[in-house]
Amino acid sequence: MHDGAIQQISMCCVSRMAVDGGHRDGGCDWDGRWNHVRKFLERPGPFTHPDFEPSTESLQFLLETCKILVIGAGGLGCELLKNLALSGFRLIHVVDMDIIDVSNLNRQFLFRPKDVGRPKAEVAADFINSRIPGCKVVPHFKKIQDLDESFYRQFHIIVCGLDSIIARRWMNGMLISLLSYEDGVLDPSSIIPLIDGGVEGFKGNTRVILPGMTACIDCTLELYPPQINFPMCTIASMPRLPEHCIEYARILQWPKEKPFGDTSLDGDNPQHIQWVFERSQERAAEFNITGVTYRLTQGVVKRIIPAVASTNAVIAAACATEVFKIATSAYIPLNNYLVFNDVDGLYTYTFEAERKENCSACSQVPQDLQFPPSAKLQEILEYLTENASLQMKSPAITTTLEGKNKTLYLQSVKSIEERTRPNLCKTLKELGLSDGQELAVADVTTPQTVLFKLNFTA
């Protein structure tokens, strides 16, 4: 089914795209400008997508009608904007909630030292629009969660260059929520293809996701390695590595000593890092541990992931190639996951990630919660956060009892957390929950609540 799915989507995209209107731009094009692109749109060939038809209209479609959303204007985002603009796309929106930092300048090439402190989305849009005549990048200095369905619905293709798994999952969930089903059959025109890129040092990956049809982010959650967090007892009483000393200063000493008043530790504040560095050195000296440096301190506190221009360039290029293929049906798109690593030579591996039958995000299969009635609510909370396929961050659990909505536990609002905390120690039976009860769970990892069904075990 899979090859067919990937092939089919290009058709649907094209039909959606053809129906949408277009805006004809005046002449900012010079002779030969699009020669490199035209060859792939106006000439037949033996390896094109089966539904590809050479035409001079395709270029016009890219230039005037096709709307692309780029999520992130950082390492991948800057590259993506350039790649799309130089491939003929003009109607591009970009979302990024960050401002520019000096450490971005080694790879986020649309930014200069004078731009430090300004919103990435805005500076990136300005640069592209002035360097590529005719290109109209619209910036959104916002969190992706601040934009709604009606915003996302307007795009033909969405391409992500995010640095957070939570954000990826949210975006994934948003596009899944846009899907419409008629009599249980997915309406292909409600699918917005999602191209996702990720990088870390010299490694990266690109994937093509057709929500509702191919593997989504949550289907392959196990591919993302869990974050390293050192055990508290190691940090508190048995440090062995310089990292343990740094975490001690960050987690235990800072809240206790409040060196700068009631402010929380800001990894971007050099004075804060310097303080943590000095405390870490003291602790390390106590235990004869070597290796605490300022650079390591900053790396641990900010959970810094090393990054270079080259990997960002490779992955963003692969992503943009897929955007082009899907938008034009020029070739069959990647089906569906590319892995890249250039530590030793250059290594790529392409495979088809499979959908998970009971994926909590895209399968529409109600999620099962198997617990005995004597289990405490705490156990359910732990399951939601620790289970490899769910990996929720701070789930809020609500249900309907006696016809009324009841919050069983919610962490993100202090007053509600305090009020519902005692529920954690109560058993499911004590809470009045019955076999088959539906629990609605909300979390940062998804824009829609996930429904779980309680299944009492013996």
Binding site: V37, R43, I289, I304, A309, V314, A318, D342
Partner: protein, 533 residues
């Protein structure tokens, strides 16, 4: 001055964590030559200017066309008609004020005619979209001058890279999955003494539960040795028995129920890797057997002098093993026990490095060079990376192209699968042939596409004939290559831009391992292959 250094540390922070200050220094001392500021060329250079190479020089005799500006981020439409080297230098220079940008408005062929030594000054030369004849001429000059040469080409949806470097040594290869160097199968004296200082049977619970797993395995190995005729557990059955043996050592409470001893669980979990035999990797053995290692002269680069010294160490103080690496992984243990154990390994590593140093001194003396020629810290770094040393030797272009030395086996065996990436290599060679004959590439203009198919087919056949390649190239590929019309789509250029830049950084920094020697990227299928031609 200090401000600049601090701000560079901030700016380059994310990459310094990958190649360190010494890697950055190498980059900042590099002068890179780019030939042809096409989209591929400027994308490669962008990814070198951003991380802060010292300087670049663009050599390009072409004039900017409208088509050039269309796919190139570093050309603007008001540079149409100007020299391409100059136009691109301006916009690339603007990316990073730490970098010094230069240009030469000249074709590489002219430079090769009038001043081939021009190219000798560069750390690496990157040639983009070069016709075959220029490529081979340049290849010969650079080979004789020992200047690394990276050939890159974007052709339609294909990316091609060829690295040409005679001998490239890598001390810091930074392998992804390195095995630990614990020496449990052949414990050194100081380690054995340290293990003796533990008496598991008489320890209190706290100490028992916080003893490093390495000590636990060592203790149990000693017992196993005495019961098994000094033989290590060698098959699955014996290893299982050994694991069980350790498990029995877990403390039990008054009711005979085993306590929670995570360190023992760690020991059990690590039995498999802990019992790996300490041995010299075959890559390093090969290096020991190479000519450069065995004939040290005053011209020998320090890599070979150090390698020879390590070889001497292996045959003497090392008793057949490389110098101890000196690092151990983190493990459940109290601070003191862990640090003490770590220090045992560290001190042994220092000792071994000192022994290697003595051999280095002797070797340097024997060829009349002062002992300070190779710094202590370099020897220590070398010893620490002894298991990971790599040397990359690429064949010259002359060897690749000569009928007598062409790698016929590799080519024909890959082509057993007529859709393997090798077909693209052959097509690129055929297209070069077409260019040589017709002074243009096939299918550039729409009207040419059909008629060029048969002409390109002739080029393909002439190529196959000349080298006696008994392979079949499907017509579809010939058609596709005419369809490409020598297009250089930006996204493929950008992929190659990132790939090539990183290979150049590897050559300059001598960190991480470069590819050997041909890389093909297929954007249609998002696959790639590395071929040794």
């Amino acid at each position: 001055m200090a401000a600049t250094k601090a701000s560079k540390e901030q700016k380059y922070d994310r990459q310094l964590r990958l190649w360190g200050d010494h890697g950055q220094e190498a980059l900042e001392n590099a002068h890179i030559c780019l030939i042809n500021a096409t989209a591929t060329g400027t994308e490669i250079l962008k990814n070198l200017v951003l991380p802060g190479i010292g300087a670049f020089t663009i050599v390009d005799g072409h004039t900017v066309t409208g088509e050039d500006v269309g796919n190139n981020f570093f050309l603007s439409n008001n540079s149409i008609g100007k020299n391409r080297a100059q136009a691109a230098t301006e916009l690339l220079q603007e990316l990073n004020s730490d970098v010094s940008g230069n240009f030469v408005e000249e074709s590489p062929d002219k430079l090769l005619d009038n001043d081939p030594e021009f190219f000798h000054r560069f750390t690496i030369v990157i040639g983009v979209q070069l016709p075959e004849s220029t490529c081979l001429r340049l290849g010969s000059v650079l080979w004789n001058a020992s200047v690394p040469f990276l050939v890159c080409k974007t052709y339609g949806l294909l990316g091609y890279m060829r690295l040409v470097v005679q001998e490239h040594t890598v001390i810091e290869s930074h392998p992804d999955n390195a095995l630990e160097d614990l020496r449990l199968d052949q414990p050194f004296a100081e380690f054995q003494n340290h293990v003796k200082s533990y008496d598991l049977d008489s320890m209190d619970k706290k100490d028992h539960s916080h003893t490093p797993w390495i000590i636990i395995v060592a203790k149990y190995l000693e017992k196993w040795f005495s019961e098994h005729n000094c033989r290590l557990p060698k098959n699955y059955k014996e290893k299982e028995a050994f694991r069980q043996f350790i498990r029995e050592g877990i403390l039990k409470n008054e009711n005979g129920v085993p306590e929670d001893e995570e360190n023992f669980e760690e020991a059990i979990k690590n039995v498999n890797t802990a019992l790996n035999l300490t041995k010299i990797p075959s890559t390093v053995e090969d290096l020991f057997n190479s000519e450069q290692c065995n004939s040290i002269t005053s011209q020998s680069p320090s890599f070979w002098v150090m390698l020879r010294a390590v070889k001497e160490f292996v045959h003497n103080e090392g008793n057949g093993s490389l110098p101890v690496r000196g690092t151990i992984p983190d493990m459940i243990a109290d601070s003191q026990k862990f640090i003490n154990l770590q220090n045992v390994y560290r001190e042994k590593a220092l000792q071994d490095a000192a022994a290697v140093s003595k051999h280095v001194e002797c070797l340097l003396q024997s060829v009349g060079k002062p002992p300070e020629s190779i710094a202590e810290k370099d020897i220590k770094l070398f010893c620490k990376n002894a298991s990971f040393l790599r040397v990359v030797r690429c064949r010259s272009l002359a060897e690749e192209y000569s009928v007598d030395s062409v790698n016929k086996d590799e080519i024909t065996s890959c082509m057993d699968n007529p859709d393997s990436e090798m077909v693209f290599y052959l097509m690129l060679r055929a297209v070069d042939r077409f260019y040589q004959q017709h002074s243009r590439y096939p299918g550039v203009y729409n009207y040419q596409v059909e008629e060029d198919i048969s002409k390109l087919k002739l080029s393909v056949n002439s190529l196959l004939q000349e080298y006696s390649f008994n392979v079949n190239i499907k017509d579809d590929y010939i058609h596709e290559f005419c369809r490409y019309g020598a297009a250089e789509p930006h996204t493929v250029s950008a992929f190659l831009g990132g790939s090539a830049a990183q290979e150049a950084i590897k050559i300059i920094s001598h960190q991480f391992v470069p590819f050997n020697n041909t890389f093909i990227y297929n954007a249609m299928s998002q696959t790639s292959a590395t071929l040794q031609l």
